[in-house]
């Protein structure tokens, strides 16, 4: 076979492979949306799930997912921000930095089941928090920390050194430079990173099965006192999220319309995650425009 023929064949094969990959994604999205969207209704999105009969909704699970996401973000963002500031602005090359970077890398590659089981062992069993939103949020924090730290660190590293030098030249301390110059400049890309990681956290299930639990007790949406047991804001109640719900009804197989419910729930999950992904860059760009008057 001559070289030109081989070149043509190889090019064809590469086109075909890329086409197949694109088809796989389109087919999956189409499948989920076509199967799921017809099940969506106001009733489905707001009513509680039913275990043994058809017609249940995903209202509580949907609320739990968002509530857990917000709590996890509130806990993990300051920690990730601090860690990223230290790594990018203060740390010098050395043993300590190498160890820390290795630790972050290892944490980011740990299977999320293991992170969930660790949360189960420490918070659910040792600290007697039980299956609760709090345990789940902490487990999600562990899962989220390495990626968020890395993305914030990248955002900070993108700010040119000129800015830091200008800060020093004005007599600002390093901390003041970071707070007043570097962080504001990095806000757009930090926000992009945060929204992207929110998408990942929203769909996570394996870390939550044994921390936030697999049950969704009835909530009283008129009661916003976080200390009442039926209040949606109570962080000590067990809270099954949307992703966990999909897993549970499929592996239990006792809900008669499990298929329709999981198709609808998957569609909601996908739509929310897509919204997060699509909006992440837009929000970042918009912020950049607003903040820099560019």
């Amino acid at each position: 076979m001559n070289a030109k023929r081989a070149d043509k064949i190889a090019t064809g094969v590469i086109y075909a492979i890329s086409g197949i990959v694109a088809l796989i994604l389109i087919a999956m999205l189409a499948f989920i949306l076509i199967r799921g969207v017809p099940n969506l209704s106001w009733h489905f999105l707001t009513s509680p799930a039913r275990a043994f009969e058809a017609g249940g909704g995903i209202g509580i699970q949907l609320f739990n997912s968002f509530y857990l996401l917000i709590l996890a973000m509130i806990i993990s963002f300051p920690i990730a921000l601090g860690a990223a500031i230290y790594l990018n602005e203060y740390s010098k090359k050395g043993k300590f930095t190498t160890v820390v970077r290795t630790a972050i890398e290892i944490l980011s590659s740990l299977p999320s089941v293991v992170v969930g089981l660790f949360g189960f062992l420490i918070f659910v069993v040792q600290f007697h928090l039980g299956f609760s939103i709090l345990s789940g949020a902490i487990a999600l924090t562990f899962f989220n920390l390495p990626l968020l730290t890395r993305s914030i660190e990248t955002s900070l590293a993108q700010i040119p050194n000129l800015q830091r030098e200008a800060g020093s030249a004005l007599g600002l301390s390093r901390w003041e430079t970071v707070i007043h110059i570097i962080l504001p400049a990095a806000v757009p890309s930090i926000v992009t990173g945060v929204v992207l990681s929110a998408g990942r956290v929203f769909g996570e299930a394996a870390a939550l099965i044994y921390t936030a639990g697999q049950s969704a007790p009835a909530l009283n949406f008129a009661d916003w006192n976080p200390f009442n047991i039926s209040s949606p804001l109570n962080p000590m109640r067990p809270a099954e999220t949307l992703a966990v719900h999909i897993w549970k009804i499929n592996s239990e197989g006792i809900m008669p319309d499990a298929n329709a419910v999981s198709a609808g729930a998957s569609a909601v999950l996908i739509i929310v995650v897509l919204l997060f992904n699509l909006s992440a860059r837009k929000i970042g760009a918009q912020l950049y425009k607003k903040l820099t008057s560019a």
């Binding site: 081989a6 094969v13 197949i20 990959v21 796989i24 601090g82 299977p111 293991v114 660790f118």
Partner: protein, 307 residues
């Protein structure tokens, strides 16, 4: 005079703030390190108690092929705790998924970097990002409603098994391997390509003999990362593999992985019992394997740097 000396000798307000800020951010960083250390410490201590506290032999655990921890073998007076089926299942789906995904990943990334740079990044980049963003339970659900019935109708049997697990994992690791391969290919210097083309190589010769060779360490790293993701993936695999702790006879018979037995079992056992301890040992194996994957990536990176 004294006043001025004092003022000069004292730390200024902003120096104090700086030290405080530095300390707080260092604390945040240390917290992450502490979390990593305690994950290892706690999971290892629970996992090892199978061997130290319950007196199970490591050999029986790793190479025994019967898993039924709640039943005691009348001959040896030991429960059936052979974890080989799960270990084997995990490795098998991981390797199969990586083998299937690699050509697709390399093809797609070549399309994006060598064949059609503009269209490649415009069309394929969002596709890869969307594939990364789909939650794993959704992959599991699609596997359960599409892949499993398909396998059942083609190969017979229940449809649950290694093959279904491989197909689901293939799609899940594809974006991981692809995006990392794209980065590697992009880092191959332009003049390598130009030199190859200048001496009369066709595009494919240039790709095959120059670009791919130069990018080999990076592509291997990408594959190992993909395998690490496949090995640790829990729910999607658990939904389609059948969860029978048996050595798989063929690719379509129900099997299990470390993660699938772990997610099924940990809630149904009592903390501190042998049945529970052996599950923690499975978790420990998962933990150690992710460490191994990390070390392999590092080793490849060092090799690649040397030349």
């Amino acid at each position: 005079m004294d006043n001025i000396t004092q003022k000069l000798m004292q730390k200024s307000e902003s120096t104090k703030k700086d030290s405080l800020g530095r300390a707080v951010s260092l604390a945040a960083l240390s917290l992450i390190v502490i979390v990593v250390i305690s994950i290892f410490a706690f999971v290892m201590s629970r996992g090892l108690s199978t061997f130290f506290h319950d007196g199970v032999h490591v050999k029986d655990f790793l190479f025994g092929s019967t898993w039924n921890p709640s039943v005691v073998n009348p001959q040896t007076k030991q429960p059936y705790i052979g974890a080989l089926p799960m270990i084997f299942g995990s490795f098998l789906v991981t390797f199969l998924a990586a083998i299937v995904a690699t050509p697709f990943a390399i093809g797609t990334s070549l399309f994006m970097t060598e064949i059609a740079q503009k269209r490649g990044t415009k069309i394929m980049q969002p596709i890869i990002e969307l594939l990364v963003g789909i939650p794993s339970v959704v992959y599991g659900f699609i596997g359960l409603t599409v892949v499993v019935p398909f396998i059942r109708s083609v190969f017979g049997g229940s449809g649950f098994g290694i093959l279904s697990g491989t197909i689901v994992l293939f799609v899940m690791v594809l974006p991981t391997i692809t995006s990392m391969t794209v980065d590697t290919l992009k880092s191959v210097p332009r003049h390598y390509r130009e030199s190859a083309l200048a001496i009369g190589a066709t595009r494919w010769q240039m790709i095959y003999k120059v670009v791919l060779r130069a990018a080999t360490p990076g592509i291997l790293t990408a594959i190992v990362f993909g395998m690490a993701r496949a090995f640790g993936e829990a729910l999607a695999v658990q939904m389609v593999i059948g969860n029978a702790a048996l050595m798989p006879h063929n690719l379509t018979s129900p099997a299990s992985t470390l993660t699938s037995i772990l997610t099924m079992g940990i809630g149904n056992t009592v903390m501190g019992s042998l049945q529970n301890d052996v599950l923690w040992t499975l978790a420990m194996i998962l933990l150690l394997m992710s460490l191994v994957f990390n070390l392999v990536v590092r080793a490849i990176g060092r090799r690649g740097e040397m030349k």
